[in-house]
């Protein structure tokens, strides 16, 4: 528009420089050339036409004498023609500009794609390098293990060989000595046999081929069976064997024989290292686990040995006559079995005062009712006075909505928005249960969780979101992957939702954790792609939906955003999402997540949470 005005300026100029016929009007020509750089074809044509019209108008208005028709026509013609010429120039220029812009944008997108590929390549290289280092480490450990094993095997073999050769070559050995030697051959071959079995066990566990026969197992039964096995050995040494356990213990989830093996191993050690006194075999419930313990009044363990004692082939170094030598594998096998079950094993000991070995096994929680047909909320058992539930969430809408729901079902609730506030609340009123969605590993949170564990108040961790205003909070996550990543844990978590070869997307700003996980996933047959920028990741997931999504360590609001975007988009709302959880947190909480069935229905599992709450109260009945 402004440009067109310039033409009027020209005309005006004409008026001031001696009328419409002044040569100033020829300034049109350079002007139209200049404007061809700026205006479009159409605009230039219109400018030309308008200028001509106004010129003609002004000409007639001022009734200049003797308008030379031919000259005038040529002039008008010249104006219009030059407008066209300028228009064509402008058009050509326009086209060139477009081509240039296209070229630039193609260049940019190629450059971006290259950068992106480069980044992924770098990540892959790093992951490969990490995998390589890990493999080297495994290889070294294997070699060490094999060398240790062969050493261990040769020892009893040499005894067997020496004594059998002696017996063959000498005729004049007295009967007692003969018998003694044969006894040695016999016990050494037993020792060899036991060692071979243990090595096979370890190999099976390491390769993940250990088949656990999982069923609900009664802790009572485990204790009594182990007692039966150990009793003769204990009595021989004059040791007292005592059983001590809670009356009503829930069943644990595990393989009966494996668990007995662990108990017998601990009892064996207890008998071995105790010369006088008592061995106590116990079990008690602790939150969602049953804690088994074997205490003795023996020598005790050096503080620096408490951790390494579970290492393979680690043996207490003091040599004592008459003490049968172990292989050093018993505790490491026990540790592997316990961890395979999802529990923990540790030892408390003081030198000279004896030791207590403890391990936990998760309780057997029956299958949660979760079919696609009927989803209902379990009724609170009547006649039970339950302690209130503490709902801890920084999101006020989630907190309110959850409290409302729970109160509708007959539970009393307390609320808190921060762990600090929660600690205050629990110091005034003891809750029966804590439900929280906080996953940041803050000191105040860990403190609260520790208090909860010590006070036998179960904590349930659940990721709740409200996607539409006025709706109930809904579960968003299908599982939590705890650090450090354990291959078996990750596999069993993902297997419920995925097949081999499935594509996954890892969204994490933490390069370290994501690379480790990427390598691990690759090694178990999943195709994992890493994207560190959250917005880009969400766009990618929408554009080409993967089979699962794993989210890493983000801040709470970013996490909220990511989950909301994924769950509200039709392409991605049914994709299972897993969250990486810190180590410390994992030990203290029970998580409630979606399973495949509830994922499919789209009615995202608040009933699961409520079911869990109900079972927690039922289990803890005695504790209240």
């Amino acid at each position: 528009m402004l440009y067109c005005l310039s033409f009027f300026v020209v005309l005006l100029l004409c008026m001031f420089t001696g009328g419409i016929e002044s040569p100033a009007r020829f300034l049109y020509f350079p002007l139209i050339v200049i404007l061809s750089q700026r205006l479009s074809f159409k605009a230039l044509i219109w400018t030309g036409i308008l200028f001509s019209l106004f010129f003609t108008l002004l000409l007639f208005l001022f009734k200049t004498p003797a308008i030379q028709i031919p000259g005038f026509t040529v002039e008008i013609f010249a104006y219009i023609l030059s407008a066209f010429a300028a228009g064509f120039c402008s058009q050509t220029k326009q086209e060139e500009r477009e081509r240039y812009d296209n070229a630039i944008s193609t260049f940019h997108s190629l450059s971006d794609a290259l950068n992106y590929k480069n980044m992924n390549l770098q990540t892959t290289l790093d992951a490969l390098s990490a995998a390589h280092n890990k493999l080297q480490e495994y290889d070294q450990n294997r070699t060490k293990f094999l060398s240790n094993v062969s050493h261990e095997l040769r020892t009893p073999l040499s005894s067997i060989r020496s004594y059998s050769e002696i017996l063959l070559n000498y005729d004049d050995i007295d009967t007692d000595t003969c018998r003694e030697f044969i006894q040695i051959i016999n016990s050494e071959s037993e020792r060899l046999s036991a060692l071979v079995n243990e090595v096979l066990d370890i190999a099976k566990i390491e390769s993940g081929k250990l088949e656990l026969n999982i069923s609900p197992v009664n802790p009572d039964f485990l204790l009594k069976e182990s007692e039966k096995i150990i009793k003769p050995m204990a009595s021989d040494k004059g040791l007292l064997l005592v059983l001590k356990y809670d009356e009503k213990m829930p069943d644990v989830r595990g393989d009966r024989n494996q668990l007995i093996q662990v108990l017998v191993n601990l009892l064996n050690n207890a008998v071995k290292f105790t010369n006088t006194g008592t061995i106590t075999l116990g079990a008690r419930q602790n939150g969602g686990f049953v804690e088994f313990s074997v205490s003795d009044t023996g020598e005790g363990i050096f503080p620096e040995e408490k951790e390494v004692i579970f290492d393979e082939f680690y043996r207490i170094s003091e040599v004592v006559e008459n003490r049968p030598k172990g292989s050093g594998l018993g505790l490491s096998i026990s540790k592997k079995i316990v961890e395979y079950h999802g529990g923990k094993i540790w030892v408390d000991s003081n030198l000279g005062e004896g030791s207590t070995f403890c391990f936990t096994i998760p309780c057997y929680t029956g299958k949660v009712r979760s079919t696609t047909d009927h989803i209902y909320f379990p009724e609170k058992s009547s006649g039970q006075a339950y302690l209130p539930i503490l709902v801890l969430s920084s999101d006020i809408t989630v907190r309110r909505a959850l409290r409302k729901k729970l109160e509708e079902l007959g539970y009393q609730t307390l609320g808190a928005d921060t762990p600090a506030r929660a600690s205050q609340v629990v110091s005034e009123t003891r809750p029966g249960l804590i439900v929280t969605d906080i996953i940041e590993e803050r000191d105040d949170l860990i403190e609260l969780l520790r208090w909860a564990r010590n006070s036998r108040v179960q904590t349930i961790l659940v990721s709740l979101h409200i996607f539409t205003f006025g709706e109930e909070p809904r579960l968003a996550l299908s599982g939590y992957l705890s650090k450090p990543f354990d291959k078996h844990e990750v596999m069993s978590l993902l297997e419920a939702f995925n097949e081999k070869g499935d594509r996954m997307v890892l969204i994490s700003p933490d390069k370290e954790e994501s690379r480790t996980l990427q390598v691990l996933l690759g090694s178990v047959g999943y195709d994992a792609r890493l994207i560190s920028e959250s917005a880009l990741a969400v766009r990618e997931c929408i554009a080409s939906p993967p089979e699962s999504i794993i989210i890493g360590s983000f801040r709470k609001n970013q996490l909220e955003e990511i989950i909301s975007s994924l769950k509200t988009n039709s392409q991605t709302k049914n994709i299972p999402i897993f969250l990486i959880l810190g180590t410390a947190l994992h030990n203290y909480v029970k998580t409630v997540t979606l399973d495949k069935a509830s994922q499919r229905t789209g009615k995202d599992g608040l009933y699961k949470l409520v079911g869990e709450i109900e079972s927690a109260y039922t289990r803890n009945q005695d504790g209240i």
Binding site: H151, R154, L157, S159, R161, S162, Y163, E188, V319
Partner: protein, 129 residues
């Protein structure tokens, strides 16, 4: 001459596995040799100094002192240098053998071994000394 008037022994067997030590002890005693046993490195060192055995069987891995250490100590002591040291061990890798030889061991035998063969070696060497 031994240090404190204790009778000189022919052979010392040092191994933390009592069965192995006793097996060798039995064989050598049967042949009429004077044998002593030791179950850890310090006891072995002490017996070597006090009783000056002609032959010493050392296991590599023992509490208190390792076989290699004892071997080095013996071979660098002018009075003990002539003792014939045989390393008798489960660890049979090239590296272990090299290390022991570098420490001055006279021979290196891996378990399991044939007591008969060991006996004939000992006989041969003792007779040649």
């Amino acid at each position: 001459m031994p240090e404190n008037g204790k009778p000189a022994i022919d052979i010392l067997v040092a191994d933390d596995e009592p069965h192995i030590a006793r097996a060798l002890n039995f064989i050598f005693k049967k042949e009429g040799y004077n044998v002593e046993m030791a179950f850890d490195g310090d006891a072995a060192m002490q017996i070597i100094k006090e009783c000056r055995p002609k032959f010493v069987f050392l296991d590599l891995i023992m509490p208190k002192k390792n076989g290699d250490e004892i071997c080095k100590a013996i071979k660098s002591d002018i009075d003990l240098r002539d003792i014939h040291v045989i390393i008798l061990t489960c660890k049979g890798q090239e590296l272990d053998k090299e290390r022991s030889m570098a420490a001055g061991a006279n021979e290196f035998i891996t378990k399991p071994f044939s007591p008969k063969e060991v006996l004939s070696r000992v006989k041969a060497i003792l007779e040649s000394k």
